[in-house]
């Protein structure tokens, strides 16, 4: 399992598991390590460190090292068994509450909360005072019964979320009973959390046992690290100068606790990858070749040979490959492509929002006179919002729920030196008017606005400092079609009125063709076609564009069967030889497209395509063959389908 490999691949879990293993083996093999019985009183009191008694003896004449090694047995037992019982209780109560719901859930939840509110240690002390002197089991039971509640609450929350997941619903629809659903569908998905919970509970148990023994409420006739501390304290070990009598069990407890905690963290991190930190080192960016990075001098934004990747422990995922694009002042450039084609990565790189493990591997981005990729953080702060701004897909979620809309609209302007309240208010009203929201909503909180209105607020904020360029990544995808259309109209109006440039990124080509000046099509990290929107619509040049356009069912005309694009895009971590679309292309030319390094060729005025059908050095006969073959296939596919015939 990749989880296990991941688990043992990190130093944290190795250290934790290693220490635990050493301790376990040592305590089990205690007679081989030390010749002494930990309870034997045959030696003199407070003997110093010596070859016979590595760590001297106690006030009663027991060998301290033997006590430490044998004491680990009970300490580990308490940790393991109490951890196990507490986890079992957590799982049972947590799952029962989440699965049964209703009154059972309410009752269990109340119980959990009562246990969480009760202060843990005093409860343990009171409870164990009643069970005093009965050996180790009462201690284990008391600790288990006081330690399950936290885990139960966490597991209940997880189970509640799992219960609503589609795969659980699918199992219900398939006819699975409750037992199977809990134990085969839900429980395996909670394994990581349960394991982490066990180590957390074990840690709590070890610490509780030590605390109990130390204050003398446990069974002090047993040998555990806790009782060692108790006797050392009671017999004045420190006064006698035998500090190691205290230090050794203390250190043992600390290390055991640390290793439990390390294992807990490690498992938590694997089951919740977002907690992980990236340790991958960023490489230095390739300096652009002399003469490159100039681009079209008239362009507002000029992207040249941009390469962006994600650095993984394996091969680098090259998400954007040698992309060059210009955006003219006042232009709306549409950027279309499917998931994983690199369009969002491009947006993040251009706006300098790319976080590790993402990294710009080469190329340049120039906006007006700013070399965006080489701005210092301070320069970037001054340029961002003022020269360019961003609107992202879920950006309505960027609004702070506890601040009034007004403050959030003011924020960017204040950061750029507008402080006059009247000016701020006037500008905010103006902006709201631009995006079609009543000014009265300035004093609302985000939760009082619908998704569409929140997205308008975000667009208003992006417009606040009249940037020259706004990068919009799927700004309307999460919205319903009608609201989407309204917002697109506002965006179009605003940009024409203010003359700003927009890069509009979406997977919805049909929408893009309607609203863009020019459209760039991305596939597997490359821009495969670039053309004015009307040209792209009327004469798509790249076979991918053609096949993509054909993938949208039409809203008018006769209903005929159409086909999508077979196959899937290549892996971006692989080296791609030739055209990345080769495998799925219906006009491919074997021996050309899968061999030659990909290049971009002019197709018509202002239209380019990265396709060898437009390579003047490829023989026309070969091209004609490829096109003829694709038409042949097309004929077979597009049968007037039976389902439209029997309808009309």
């Amino acid at each position: 399992m990749s989880g296990l490999r991941q688990f043992f691949g990190q130093p944290r879990s190795l250290v934790g598991a290693g220490f635990l293993l050493i301790l376990l083996v040592a305590s089990l093999c205690a007679p081989l390590i030390t010749p002494y019985d930990p309870n034997s009183l045959e030696f003199g009191p407070f003997m110093p460190l010596s070859a016979q008694h590595w760590l001297g003896t106690t006030a009663l004449g027991q060998d301290i090292f033997a006590q430490f090694i044998y004491g680990a047995r009970l300490t580990l037992l308490v940790g393991a068994v109490a951890g196990l019982i507490a986890t079992l209780l957590s799982v049972t109560f947590g799952l029962a509450a989440a699965y049964l719901g209703g009154r059972v859930d309410e009752a269990i939840n109340t119980l959990i909360n009562v246990f969480l509110v009760l202060p843990g240690l005093p409860l343990v002390i009171v409870a164990s005072a009643f069970l005093r002197g009965g050996g180790v089991w009462p201690v284990i039971l008391v600790i288990s019964f006081t330690g399950w509640a936290f885990g139960a609450r966490v597991l209940r929350a997880q189970a509640l979320a799992l219960r609503e997941r589609d795969f659980v619903q699918a199992a219900v629809v398939a006819g699975e009973g409750p037992g199977r659903i809990i134990f085969r569908e839900m429980l395996p998905n909670m394994a990581g959390l349960i394991a982490a919970n066990f180590f957390g509970a074990a840690l709590y148990a070890v610490l509780s046992e030590a605390a109990l023994s130390f204050i003398g409420v446990g069974d002090v006739s047993l040998v555990t690290w806790g009782t060692m501390l108790y006797w050392a304290q009671a017999k004045g070990a420190l006064l006698q100068g035998a500090w190691w009598w205290v230090a050794l069990p203390g250190l043992g407890i600390a290390l055991l606790g640390t290793s439990f905690a390390l294992l807990n963290f490690a498992i938590d991190e694997i089951s919740n990858p977002k907690l992980g930190r990236s340790n991958v080192k960023l490489p230095a960016r390739k300096k652009p070749a002399p003469g490159a990075g100039v681009g079209n001098p008239d362009a507002l934004l000029s992207i040249r040979d941009l390469n962006v990747g994600y650095l993984t422990p394996g091969p680098t995922v090259r998400a954007v490959r040698d992309v060059s694009l210009d955006v003219q002042p006042g232009e709306l450039l549409g950027l279309a492509g499917e998931s994983g084609c690199g369009k969002s990565t491009l947006a993040f790189a251009v706006t300098r929002l790319l976080d590790p493990p993402g990294a710009v591997l080469g190329g340049s981005v120039r906006l007006a006179e700013h070399d965006l990729l080489n701005l210092s953080p301070e320069e970037l702060r001054r340029v961002r919002w003022k020269e360019f701004s961003m609107v992202f897909q879920a950006s309505m979620n960027v609004l702070n729920p506890v601040l009034k809309i007004r403050e959030q609209v003011y924020d960017a302007m204040q950061a750029h030196g507008v402080t006059d309240k009247q000016k701020l208010d006037a500008r905010a009203r103006e902006l709201f008017d631009l995006v079609g929201i009543q000014a009265s909503y300035l004093d609302a909180y985000p939760h009082q606005l619908s998704g569409g209105m929140k997205q308008r607020v975000v667009i208003a904020i992006a417009l606040a400092l009249e940037p020259k360029l706004i990068v919009m990544d799927e700004p309307t995808t999460a919205l319903d079609v009608v609201v989407q259309r309204q917002i697109l109209q506002e965006i179009n109006d605003v940009r024409r009125r203010l003359g700003i440039s927009i890069i509009f990124i979406t997977h919805d080509l049909s929408l893009l063709v309607e609203m863009s000046d020019r459209v760039a099509i991305m596939y597997a990290g490359e821009v495969v076609e670039l053309a004015p929107a009307h040209q792209l619509y009327a004469h798509p040049a790249h076979p991918y564009t053609q096949q993509l356009m054909n993938s949208f069912p039409p809203m008018t005309g006769p209903r005929t069967r159409r086909s999508g694009i077979p196959g899937k895009p290549p892996s971006l971590s692989a080296e791609i030889v030739g055209c990345p679309f080769f495998e799925r292309c219906n006009k491919r030319m074997p021996g050309v497209c899968d061999v030659k390094p990909l290049q971009t060729f002019p197709v018509a005025e202002e239209q380019t395509a990265a396709c060898f059908l437009y390579d003047p050095t490829v023989s026309p006969a070969l091209k004609e063959n490829a096109i003829r073959d694709s038409q042949h296939v097309q004929m077979e596919v597009s049968r007037e389908s039976a389902h439209s015939a029997n309808l009309n």
């Binding site: 589609d166 795969f167 659980v168 619903q169 699918a170 199992a171 219900v172 629809v173 398939a174 006819g175 699975e176 085969r184 395996p188 998905n189 499917e338 998931s339 619908s450 569409g452 209105m453 319903d480 079609v481 009608v482 609201v483 989407q484 259309r485 109209q489 179009n492 997977h507 080509l509 049909s510 929408l511 063709v513 309607e514 609203m515 929107a533 009307h534 619509y537 096949q547 993509l548 356009m549 993938s551 949208f552 069912p553 039409p554 809203m555 008018t556 209903r559 069967r561 159409r562 086909s563 999508g564 694009i565 077979p566 899937k568 389908s641 039976a642 389902h643 439209s644 309808l647 009309n648």
Partner: protein
């Protein structure tokens, strides 16, 4: 709330023979979040429709329109507040258990929207496909062979390489094919497909839709195809039903409803849909506001506050479904003969 029962009829061209409709729902209603108290959200407001054997009904609406809730009511993931569901003419009892429930589970299957969420990450494909067979006693000697033949049927071949894979090893399109295979495993009569393509990339959507159409033809399945995409509904469906704020506002033959929508809301949906083939001129839509809060729906037509054609009587009560011909009905008072007569020859809803 009482209202006239909508006519339960399917495609007008379907001969009235003895084969009962695979599914009929009559005044189906679901109110969420009451827990004994008054109020609550009316997610599905007395919806009635039928699906004939071998028919695909497209159910179109925006988020919050109640379309997914209807599928989950039919699949009994939710219990209806009131109304009736009939399978093959037989009412499904409101309290379900034992054999009746297993009968429902065997005959009604669901395909979920997000193939990344609908397959359990811990189980290999073979487990996911084997379980329905075992639950319903359909597993013959060699379940492996049955699993392989299911995989082949949904276009995952060679099947043996897919059977042992776990979901994370599959692409979105492949996962959705596994989801379809799971639904087909028990040879159900009705498939509820809840936006089965909207989480997929454009280039593979059509192939998944084509697969569903082929399987429907081969197996004689009936299908509820839920979508927010009018073009997709037109491609897939024999008939289309349009939902707005939990209420059925229009139903009829797919091409009829989408080419000549008769309810102002359907017209709005159509004008808002992207359509590059319309000649690259963005259409300006006439619509006020957004979908209302389901907790504070107006007493009359739910679309009245946004409707460009609203009349005073729209506020009075929920209009009934008016027959506009060709098995096509719309819940709009503009089709009321009295209203039409009063407004002279001018019919507010342009054809």
């Amino acid at each position: 709330m009482s209202q006239p029962t909508a006519p339960i009829s399917t495609n007008a061209s379907t001969p009235t023979n003895t084969i009962p409709n695979t599914l009929e729902i009559v005044n189906l209603r679901k109110v969420f979040g009451t827990r004994g108290k008054a109020g609550g959200v009316v997610a599905v407001n007395d919806v009635s429709f039928a699906i004939a054997r071998g028919e695909v009904l497209g159910l179109v609406g925006e988020s919050g329109s109640g379309k997914s809730t209807i599928a989950r009511l039919i699949a009994r993931l939710y219990t209806p507040t009131s109304g009736e569901i009939r399978l093959n003419g037989q009412p499904v009892p409101s309290r379900l258990g034992g054999r009746a429930l297993r009968h429902l589970r065997k005959n009604v299957q669901m395909i979920f929207q997000d193939p990344y969420a609908s397959l359990n990450p811990v189980h290999p494909v073979s487990y996911t496909l084997k379980r329905p067979l075992q639950i319903h006693g359909l597993a013959r000697g060699d379940t492996e062979e049955q699993v392989n033949s299911l995989l082949e049927r949904v276009g995952l071949s060679p099947a043996s390489t897919y059977a042992s894979k776990r979901p994370f090893e599959l692409s979105g399109g492949q996962r959705q094919r596994v989801g379809i295979a799971r639904a087909l495993a028990v040879r159900p009569e009705l498939i509820l497909a809840d936006e089965p393509t909207s989480a997929l990339d454009v280039s593979i959507r059509l192939d998944v839709m084509n697969l569903m159409l082929d399987l429907k033809d081969q197996e004689g399945l009936s299908m509820l195809f839920i979508t927010h995409d009018l073009a997709g509904a037109r491609y897939m469906s024999d008939r289309v039903a349009v939902l707005y704020a939990g209420t059925l506002v229009e139903i009829g033959p797919a091409v009829e409803v989408i080419d000549r929508p008769q309810h102002p809301y359907t017209q709005l949906l159509k004008s808002a849909a992207p359509k590059p083939d319309a000649g690259l001129v963005p259409e300006t839509i006439e619509a006020r506001g957004e979908v209302p809060d389901l907790k504070t729906l107006p007493p009359g037509c739910p679309f009245e506050p946004r409707c460009p054609h609203a009349l005073p009587e729209c506020k009075a009560g929920l209009p009934r479904m008016y027959d506009v011909g060709e098995g096509h009905t719309a819940r709009c008072i503009l089709h009321d003969p009295a209203v039409q007569a009063r407004r002279g020859q001018e019919v507010g809803v342009s054809r």
